[in-house]
Symmetry: C2
Subunit: 327 residues, 2 copies
DNA sequence: TCAATATATACTCGAATTGAGCATAGTGGA
DNA sequence: TCCACTATGCTCAATTCGAGTATATATTGA
C-alpha cells in the first residue's frame, strides 16, 4: 500500500529573491527560455526541481540550487505558498505529470554585478507599477486601472453584484477614500487578473483579444502571482519582524534604513517619527562613526543589534506614514 | 523534456479542522490505523491524497475529501505550510516514493455529535497543555518544562552557547520576565522537540530511551507540528482579521465572543476593554434581542456584520490582556 | 566669506489608543 | 429584601501616534 496514491508529480521550487539596489527593491529574474520555449524572453523567477533523492528537506533543496545557480549567500529564507493549479505550467499538458510549485521568499544583499550571468536584478515595480506610491499616486492607477475598475463595476449583472464589486475594488485599490493598504499586493493582482487587466489573464484563457492594460509585461507562467505573494508577505512581515536588516549592509544611516523600508512598502514615511520608532524599539545602536557623504549635516552610522533577534518578540517597523506629497 | 525531473511523489493534504465546543478549542482527529499501522490508536489529523486527475486546484482537492469524510460545511480554508522532510512518513521508507504534505487550516462550527463517526473533536490543549494560560500559568510549564529547559541551558558546551540557549528559552517560553507571546506555539513546540522533551522526538530518532515529559501523547507522524503551525497561524490571524466569526453561531453575546477568543489565544482578556474594542471597530451589531440565560443581568445579543469583510481592511482583536489571576 | 540649500537630530503638542479599575444596572434565587 | 452574578457605562492616567517646528552642521556656488 506504500505507493498507493502516488502520482508522477514534478515539484518545483520557485524563489522570489529580493535585494535592494540603490533605492529600488529588486528581484532576481532569469530569461525564460529552457522552461517554456514558447515564451522565450519573458522574465521568470529562478526555478529548480526538488530532488528527493538528494535533499532531505525542501529548504535544503532550495538553498542548494539557488547557491549553485546564483552564487548568492542567502540570508533569510521563508516558504511562501504552494501553487498547484492545473494548467499553470504548459509542461504538464505535454508530459502528463502535474507540476506543483512551492514558492520561497529569499532576502539577500546585492552582489557585485556579473555581466556574464544570465540572471539579472529587476525593479519589482516594473511588474507592479501601481504599487509604488513613493512619488505620489501612481499615474498607471489613475489613468488606466481606475477607469477600467469602474467599468467593471458598472458591468455587473444586478445591484447587489454591483455593490459587491464596488466594495471589493474600493478595499483593494483604496477607491472612494477607502485608503490604500500596502500589503494587499496579492489581492490587487488577483482582482486585476480576474477582470482581465493583466496580460497573463488573456494568455491563460487562450484568447487572442487582449484587453490588458499593457504594462511592462507579464512574467512566465504564474510567476507574477508568486512574486505578488512574496511582496505581500514581505510588506506584512517588516511590520512585525526586523527582517529588513537582511537587505542592509552592516552599517547604515537612519535615512538609508528609512529609504529601504520605503522602497519595500512603496510609500514615504515621516522621517522624525521613523527615527523615534527605530530608536525606541532598540533595533539599532550607534557605531560612533559618521557618514559625511550625506550632502548635509553628517549622519551617525548605526548597526543592527543582532542580539535583538533573540530578545523579546522583536518587532518591526510601524510605518509612520506621511501624506504622499512631494517627491 | 516534459517529464524531466518528475518523481514518484505522494502529495497529501492534511487539515487542521478547528471548532470551538463549549469553551474549548477543538481539533478534528481520526484514529490512526490505516495510515500507519505500527502506531494504531495514535490521534492523527484527517488526511487525504491529492489526486491531480480529479482536482483542478489543491484547495478543491482538500474541500472535496474533507466534505466527503466529515460531512462538514467548511467555512474558512487557508493553506498553512508544505512539509517535506525526509523520514516524516514511514510509508516512504517502504515504498520509496517521497511524501509531501500540505497543511491546511479549516475553521468550522461544531456539528451535531455523531457517535457512529470515527472522527472526534479533541481539545487542542490536550496536545499542548503548556499553551493554556486561561487559569493561570500552566502547571506543566512550571513543574515539568521549565526545569528541563534550565537543565538544557546548563548543559551547553560553552558560555556563548549557554547564553544563546538561555535567550531562546526566555523568548519562547517567557522565562525570566520575558513575557509570554501566545503566538509562538510553533517555536515552542520546535524547541521542545529539539531538546527531546516531546514523545515524537525520541520516536523519530529511533531511540528506546525516552526523556520526554509524557504529556497526553504525541500524534501520528508529524501531525503535532502541523497542528502547532495551525494554532500559531490562527492565534496570529485573529489579531488582524475577523476570522473568529467563522467559529461562532450567528448570534452571540459579547461575553460569548470573548470566551471564544480567550479559548483560541489561551489567555484571559479584560472584559470592558474587549467590548470597547469590538464595538469601536464596528465588527458587530446588536440584534435587539436579549439573552437571559446569563445568570445575571441579561446580555444583548449581537451578530457579525458580514459587510465588514469587504470594508476597509477589517481588523481583528487586539487582545486586551489582563493579568492572569483568578479563574 | 556668506547665503542658499541640503540633511540630521531634537523637541513639542494635541489626538487617539491602551491598560486598569470603579460604578451602576438588571437578573434570579436564598 | 438582600445577595450573588453578569452586563454595561464611564473615568483616568500612561503611552503611542501623527504632524509639525526648531535647531545643528554639512556642502555648494556666488
Amino acid at each position: 500500500m506504500a505507493a498507493q496514491g502516488a502520482h508522477d508529480f514534478m515539484i518545483g521550487l520557485n524563489a522570489v529573491i529580493v535585494a535592494v539596489v540603490g533605492d529600488e527593491p529588486c528581484v532576481l529574474v532569469v530569461p525564460n527560455s529552457r522552461e517554456d520555449p514558447s515564451r522565450e524572453g519573458l522574465a521568470a523567477l529562478p526555478f529548480g526541481p526538488f530532488e528527493p533523492g538528494r535533499h532531505r528537506t525542501l529548504d535544503m533543496g532550495l538553498r542548494s540550487w539557488v547557491a549553485a545557480q546564483t552564487g548568492l549567500r542567502l540570508g533569510y529564507v521563508e516558504q511562501l505558498y504552494t501553487f498547484g493549479d492545473k494548467g499553470r505550467d504548459p509542461r504538464e499538458v505535454q508530459g502528463g505529470s502535474r507540476v506543483i510549485s512551492i514558492g520561497y521568499l529569499v532576502l539577500t544583499r546585492p552582489p557585485e554585478p556579473d555581466p556574464a550571468s544570465a540572471t539579472q536584478w529587476r525593479n519589482w515595480y516594473a511588474f507592479f507599477p501601481w504599487e509604488d506610491w513613493r512619488r505620489g499616486r501612481p499615474v498607471a492607477l489613475s489613468e488606466r486601472i481606475e477607469p477600467r475598475l469602474r467599468q467593471w463595476i458598472k458591468a455587473a449583472g444586478n445591484r447587489a453584484e454591483e455593490r459587491e464589486r464596488a466594495e471589493r475594488a474600493a478595499v483593494s485599490f483604496g477607491l472612494d477614500g477607502a485608503g490604500w493598504s500596502e500589503d494587499l499586493v496579492l489581492e490587487r493582482y488577483e482582482l486585476l487578473y480576474e477582470i482581465g487587466l493583466v496580460e497573463e489573464a488573456s494568455r491563460d484563457r487562450g484568447k487572442t483579444s487582449d484587453a490588458s492594460i499593457g504594462f511592462s509585461g507579464p512574467m512566465a507562467l504564474d510567476h507574477r502571482r508568486i512574486l505578488a505573494t512574496g511582496i505581500s508577505r514581505l510588506r506584512g512581515k517588516i511590520k512585525y519582524r526586523p527582517v529588513v536588516f537582511e537587505l542592509m549592509p552592516p552599517e547604515f544611516t537612519l535615512l538609508h534604513l528609512q529609504r529601504l523600508v520605503e522602497a519595500l512598502s512603496g510609500k514615504r514615511l515621516h522621517k522624525q517619527n521613523f527615527r523615534r520608532l527605530v530608536e525606541r524599539e532598540g533595533l539599532v545602536e550607534s557605531t560612533g562613526t559618521i557618514e559625511t557623504r550625506t550632502g548635509g549635516r553628517p549622519a551617525v552610522r548605526f548597526r543592527f543589534r543582532r542580539e535583538i533577534l533573540a530578545e523579546r518578540s522583536a518587532v518591526g517597523f510601524k510605518l509612520p506614514s506621511v501624506a504622499a506629497r512631494r517627491g
